[in-house]
Amino acid sequence: MLTLEKRPNPSRFWTIVTPLLAVALTMIAGGLLFAILGKNPVEAIRTIFWDPLFNEQFAAYSRPQLLVKAGPLVLIAVGLSLGFRANIWNIGAEGQYIMGAICGTAVALAFYPAEHWYIFPLMILAGALGGWGWAMIPAFLKNRFGTNEILVSLMLVYVAENVESWMAFGPMRNPQGMGFPGSRNLQQYPAAANPELIPGTGIHWGVVAAGLAVLLAYALLKRHIFGFHVRVAGQSPRAARFAGVEPKRLFTLCMGISGACAGLAGLFEVAGPSGQITDSFNVGYGFTAIIVAYLGRLHPIGILLAGLLLALTYIGGEIAQLQLNLPASAIQAFQGMLLFFLLGLDVLSNYRIKRKGAQK
């Protein structure tokens, strides 16, 4: 029988090499999959990884689009990573993302059609508060009654989705929308729009916010006492208590920060690329961000790279669909392989496989 045994000191070398190895293995396994589908594997893999960055036809457009797609993922994942380091499991970022978007949109629609400079800043505030408030529900229930935050935050995603649907069909429905669901398009309301900052790139304030979040988290973990508390609480709760960490306070803070980040991501998305609250506004960023956080080893810089890698597979996957007629499900299987190899090799670099009962 095989069992896993934790390595006392995971090798530094392998920590760096495993992601590269995983990408290489994905290319081999994915190449096989594409070959079975009757496509040229080298061409398929080149299309996914190379074309979005360097193909003449697509690169000028898709390079900045990588940042646009990675933006919300990185912003949410950075927020989540703080909690995850301290063993605080906010699984409900998707719900906080939705509530941030709804609260921000509510501010915009309340002012419509007035034009004031302060509307967009107020929306940002409302977005952060919306996500924060939604995350405070599991935080309060945990601190007060000891409920499990994984379950409560996850279940609240479904509540938020229903609130979103209600908003799209009810209170926020565009009165000029010919009876169709969905709010007014905020892109067409200048005071509330999250505009394109550099023409032709699609880059908006959400991308800037994601970059700032990476820097802030990096500084926080390196230099601030809060970062120290987070790390020590994750490694040894007992030691943390001696170091003066108040578990409830830390829990509230981490849930709040991750909720606010998710809410902000939702706000920037609804006021920018997406434009409106509809019943299908959320597309799973809150869940994908969990993968991004782990792919990036809960380190801010790692998360930035992981977010960009995932964005690359999304955008490259689309180009592969239209250039090579690959089905969307093959692309998803390919993405799944990438995650499988990354996390699988991660286990091997932290644990060693031992044969048990072989001596008999």
């Binding site: 457009y61 898709s62 010919m178 009876g179 669901p181 299908s280 180009i319």
Partner: protein, 361 residues
Amino acid sequence: MKRRDFLAGTAATGTVLASGLANRAMAAEPLKVGFIYLGVPGDGGWTYQHDQARQKMLAHFGKAVETKVIENVPEGADAERSITQLALAGCKLIFTTSFGYMDPTINVAKKFPNVKFEHCTGYKRAANVSTYDARFYEGRAVIGTIAGRMTKTNKIGYIATFPIPEVVQGINSAYIHAKKVNPNVEMKIIWVSTWFDPAKEADAAQAMIDAGVDVLMQHTDSTAAMAKAKAAGIYAFGQSSDMIQYAPKPRISSIIDNWAPYYIQRVQDVLDGKWKSEGVWMGIGSGVVEIGEITDAVPAEVKAEALALKDKIAKGEYAPFTGPLNKQDGSPWLKAGEVAKDDVLSGLNFYVEGIQGKLPT
């Protein structure tokens, strides 16, 4: 070689050369046509029918046309990127096949004035953006007639998706025509808030069956309700695709979305340089809304009645929304003989008189 032969030879060579050149010119520059799908072609419903039409269009034009497809595109920000990529890939005509692609289509169209766009079911147009939609309610009138005749309990079920005009038109049309042939008919409506969710659709079907419904209609795409209808021994109608595997019973007929005639027409327009921006709303007459085969489980005279109605609609002799009709609250909507205008229908947001329950908002 005789002179005559030589001449014939050169002529032949000339023709071969000319046609060869023409072929090469066509082969080098097939028209690239792009498609954005909300789901995957395997959904058996909405996306499946668009993909079937794409394939028929391809078969029709052969090498003159090439298609590029992106599947599973969420409505919103991702749609804008995907449509842009199709345009960057050289597509000159792009079909965006879901309502939620409306604003993204308009945004991308501004950046690519030389590309033609076709948006399905929307209402925003531009110089290079057309809209197309189907009068599914015409089909509902036909199957509503069959339903009114076939029900024994006088209870017809309708699995509704979202309270948008297309669905409200469908419910009203089905009810009006069932009531015409069976004044005692009652319609039970369950809103499932999804286009495709087999579990929810099955639950809704079961709830209606338990409430005594014996003819089931659906606006959703899966066959889950059909399976429940089969188990309960009641009648049902296929939706989006034919669902022929459930014939002859429970599936006694169906409403099929057949976009192929339109896709062929519009690609031809681009090839001929005759494409113009317009908004079209096609019904049974154009072949876009099809009534699937009415099976032998339906008595011959009912079948004849339904087909006669279908013919009258196809020829434009009858419009399903013709007065006298009152709104649900009893206030008058259409006077006797008055036909509902398209701009009212395309924003329809009320039930007609006789339907029970409140239209969700």
